[in-house]
Symmetry: C2
Subunit: 176 residues, 2 copies
């Protein structure tokens, strides 16, 4: 899969724009347990997951609070850090072998400038990430562990088989 294929599900691209966009992303193969974004680092990229899984977590009293996962087809970023150029208080880490397409800040700006539907693409992606982030954070603060366990099973049915139990526990909010 190349990024333009996924982007074309959101906005239309000419053949030239497809080539441009595919050239602006670079692919990275991540082993399990590698950080895409570390604590305190400024986030300068938006990722598009091709295969594998990443998780978002925060640290609270030294404990990892997993609040979201990203799977194939998902866009990944900490926009709060990205937009403010502020050190991230969230960590994004691979849960298993993961292939991801990365778009650096300056390349995203090129898409905004040079692709006709670039700003529309940017708006639609940030809308998705915004809503998902708010939904996941609200759920973390307001839902009970049981509700979160049920939601996890509904939202990530394939992950249940693939990822370690302690990560599910960290998402649900109970000790394993």
């Amino acid at each position: 899969m190349y990024p333009a294929e996924t982007i074309k599900q959101l906005v239309s691209l000419s053949r030239e724009e497809e080539h441009l966009v595919d050239g602006l992303f670079e692919s990275r193969q991540m082993a399990k347990d590698q950080n895409l974004l570390s604590y305190g680092q400024v986030c300068h990229l938006v990722g598009l997951v091709e295969k594998g899984c990443l998780r978002y977590f925060m640290l609270k009293d030294g404990e990892e609070i997993t609040y979201s996962f990203a799977q194939a087809g998902d866009f990944v970023s900490n926009y709060e850090s990205f937009l403010n150029r502020a050190p991230s208080n969230k960590i994004i880490k691979s849960v298993e072998d993961t292939k991801i397409w990365l778009l650096h800040r300056e390349h995203l700006d090129r898409i905004y400038r040079e692709v006709k539907a670039g700003n529309r693409f940017g708006r639609l992606v940030i809308e998705k990430v915004f809503v998902e982030t708010l939904r996941q954070l609200s759920s973390y603060y307001t839902d009970s562990p049981t509700e979160r366990y049920l939601k996890f099973n509904t939202e990530y049915p394939e992950l249940v088989q693939r990822i370690p139990q302690y990560l599910i526990a960290s998402y649900v909010g109970v000790k394993p």
Copy 2:
């Protein structure tokens, strides 16, 4: 003030586009304590405050938790409800006499379609609102009442004089 003036601080508009945009917003004069968005209502609009003040709050065990304020020049919306067409669990209410310009969903879509920099405008506004929402929600969950009191004084220096003490207490997170 007309909306196009504020929008031109974010993107450039032709004279025709300015007229179009100003015609798509409608102004509303709100008395104190009126809801712009009620609990359970789907949010179909984005507002731009010209004068006055609104507050955002959630209900928790029947209590009002004020997590943000909007002042002159701020864009106001519950994007989570707007984008998902989902009932709002947040309430937006005037704190004092307020003049606001309202843009309904279908008119925002017209701006996306008919204004050259429409999507760029939409992207920049959602970026501002996204970052501000995350910042305010994170602060609510992680900062102490003292930190929140200090932040309130720094971020809203003029409001301290204008709004009732119990609203500041509701924002800070202490009983008045």
